[in-house]
């Protein structure tokens, strides 16, 4: 790809608990191209939200980033001081966190909450300019300018979420991370919010990382999809290929389990339980539930390898080295 705007290299995030470290993110690497829409898919416990927060350096104790690099335009975010990072947040790297609409300050008008962002980054000191900018941002997300004068409780869920998107794009960031931005919303409102997100992203040519577990949403929105399992990326490929020809068995089962609107058919769940991140299974973390597990799986953890141009899989079935060995 062209020079990536964000490069994540071997990121490790652990939660320190009384019983030992919980490896929520266990060696994740990927690149994000400018203006790209990357979908990060996984069940709860796969580490996707932890990773999103790690990129923003917004993790709280007992979570700690234990290793790796996050390069934004070549600058390692993990090496910056808190003050330097604070200047980058919302300015160049922005986030719409999970349940964002519920974290709007209930006693402040929308306008004042947006002004806080400007103040924190020393932008738009001129009052008239501010008013104009806020009005413009609200219109960008499909809301009327008078929403600025309202309080959060006067708005519907979808409107609040769009305010959160407006706040996330206020300083024209290069990367926007959206963590389950539509999880509590109805299907029609969900569509409006996702289309809004898509429109503003295109407008800014910002890259978006959409974190979630709804494959349908991913199909509608993403250009590329990364599948996370037990804190690792197990597959990374363009969206069409993920849906038409998934390579990793987990991805295959995930896609098979999506209920279809085409015809009534049997439900195909994924048997077994999500692995413990405290004591992950040896070798490949998916092997206890994998129908195609064979000799190397319980012992060797497969690395993410490029099987095709732009396609990456972490699976012995597709690993050149292993296949070569097993044939020999």
């Amino acid at each position: 790809m062209t020079t990536p705007v964000l490069r994540v290299q071997d990121l490790h995030v652990h939660y320190r608990t009384a019983a030992g470290p919980v490896k929520a993110v266990n060696g994740v690497s990927f690149d994000l191209a400018p203006g790209e829409r990357l979908g990060l898919v996984g069940e709860s416990g796969s580490g996707k939200t932890t990773m999103a927060l790690a990129l923003m350096r917004m993790l709280e104790q007992p979570a700690r980033i234990e290793g790796g690099r996050v390069l934004l335009d070549g600058v390692d975010l993990l090496a910056l001081s808190e003050e330097q990072m604070r200047r980058i947040r919302f300015d160049r790297l922005s986030m719409v966190p999970q349940g964002a609409m519920n974290s709007l300050n209930p006693v402040m008008r929308i306008r004042d909450q947006m002004i806080e962002i400007f103040n924190a980054h020393g932008r738009h000191p001129d009052k008239a300019e501010r008013r104009e900018r806020i009005g413009h941002l609200l219109e960008r997300v499909g809301l009327k300018r008078d929403v600025a004068d309202r309080y959060p409780h006067e708005l519907s869920g979808g409107m609040k979420q769009r305010v959160c998107i407006a706040m996330a794009i206020a300083l024209r960031p290069q990367v926007i991370i959206a963590d389950e931005p539509t999880s509590a919303l109805d299907v029609v409102v969900q569509r409006q919010v996702m289309e809004t997100l898509g429109a503003v992203q295109k407008d800014l040519n910002a890259a978006v990382i959409l974190v979630g577990h709804d494959m349908g949403l991913m199909a509608q929105f993403a250009d590329r999809i990364g599948v996370m399992y037990a804190g690792r990326l197990v597959e990374l490929a363009p969206v069409r290929q993920i849906f038409s020809a998934p390579q990793h068995p987990y991805t295959q089962m995930l896609i098979a389990s999506i209920p279809s609107l085409e015809e009534k058919r049997l439900f195909k769940g994924i048997p077994g339980v999500a692995p413990s991140l405290l004591n992950p299974p040896s070798g490949c973390p998916f092997h206890p539930r994998c129908p195609a597990a064979f000799a190397p799986c319980p012992t060797i953890n497969p690395a993410l390898e490029e099987t095709d141009a732009g396609r990456w899989v972490a699976c012995h079935l597709h690993s050149e080295a292993v296949l070569h060995d097993s044939r020999a």
Binding site: E43, S44, P259, K264, F267, K268
Partner: protein, 340 residues
């Protein structure tokens, strides 16, 4: 034969406000439904938030009382039941709720939720018998007792917890289970297993389900017929095949077109529908008039009745006023399929 469950023109109004203001919200209006009981059926009640589906769930379970109309179980009005009838109703009409965590008392093991009904409804005479019953129920939902019993709720996954709840409902051998968004808070990959358990309830145990959801796709996969609710009234009803594949009501069409299909080549098309204001003043006409692309003058004046739009469906929309009205008697959508 007396139908098992009859909902007759039920409405619910919530009055809020303090001493001086009286704000009335009409959560549900003139809703009718029947479950005949001769064979098990899964009915979907679909709608977005504010549609009245949660209110309906609570009415069906007897948690709240209707403001208008009545609900009859085996011919007896819920309000007029004596002790024995109440007990029978309580045992035979069970529920599975949305949040698989909140439904467990954090003080006890998950066993508590299974041993309590056995004790209260006298389902077993000895402890051994009780545990056999419980273990059987767990097996029936695909769980292993040794992996689930004796644990605290937080030690199990959402999927496991929800299945235990289904096992709990099963234990009582109910006739009807009201499932209120049973998979919406469960991970996408675990949903299939739970839906499978729910389907088993009908196929193997002959239990009728009322599946309340906002997700039309799972409703399509699981259910036989469906009621689409909008702001407390029925917009469209009929068999899932008909209503979801060939929606007639503009609201249903909007819902179906907004479903994110898991197919990157079939992306949302068409216009982004008009944004609805949060508190729509109830004008008195069709509740969808403010957002409807086909709105006409008469839509603002009076709400349309249900017109029969096909052999298997009916929609409340003046666009179909050339069709016969569905007579105002309680009728189950699937009765349209097989008129006696």
């Amino acid at each position: 034969m007396t139908p098992v469950l009859e909902v007759r023109a039920v409405g619910k109004v919530f009055r809020a406000g303090g001493f001086f203001k009286r704000d009335a919200t009409v959560a549900l209006k003139d809703f009718s439904m029947t479950i005949a009981g001769d064979r098990p059926v899964i009915t979907a009640i679909a709608g977005e938030s504010g549609s009245g589906k949660t209110t309906l769930a609570r009415l069906l379970l007897g948690i709240i009382e209707p403001s208008m109309g009545e609900i009859r179980y085996h011919g007896v009005n819920l309000k007029a039941m004596n002790g024995d009838q109440r007990r029978r109703f309580r045992q035979e009409v069970q529920a599975v709720f949305q949040d698989p965590f909140e439904v467990y008392n954090p003080f006890y093991h998950v066993d508590h939720v299974l041993t309590t009904p056995v004790a209260k409804f006298g389902l077993a005479r000895t402890r051994d018998e009780a545990y056999t019953l419980i273990e059987t129920a767990l097996h029936q939902v695909g769980l292993r007792p040794e992996e689930t019993l004796g644990r605290y709720p937080h030690q199990l996954s959402g999927g496991q917890r929800q299945r235990i709840m289904i096992a709990r409902a099963l234990l009582l051998r109910p006739k009807i289970i009201v499932a209120d968004e049973p998979v919406s808070m469960v991970d996408a990959s675990l949903r299939a297993t739970i839906l499978e358990s729910l389907l088993k309830l009908k196929q193997e145990f002959g239990i009728s389900l009322i599946y309340i959801t906002h997700d039309l796709t799972t409703a399509y996969q699981l259910c036989d017929d469906i009621y689409i609710l909008y702001r407390g009234t029925v917009a469209e009803t009929g068999s899932v095949e008909q209503v979801i594949k060939q929606p007639k009501h503009p609201y249903t069409q909007l819902l179906v077109s907004s479903i994110p299909l898991p197919n990157p080549d079939q992306r949302w098309g068409g216009d982004v529908p008009a944004m609805s204001e949060r508190n729509n003043g109830s004008g008195g006409g069709c509740p969808f008039a403010a957002r409807c692309p086909h709105v006409m003058e008469r839509c603002h004046i009076a709400p349309p009745p249900l017109y029969q739009t096909s052999a298997e469906s009916a929609a409340a929309c003046y666009l179909y006023d050339d069709q016969p009205e569905l007579r105002q008697r309680p009728v189950a959508a699937h009765d349209l399929l097989n008129p006696h």
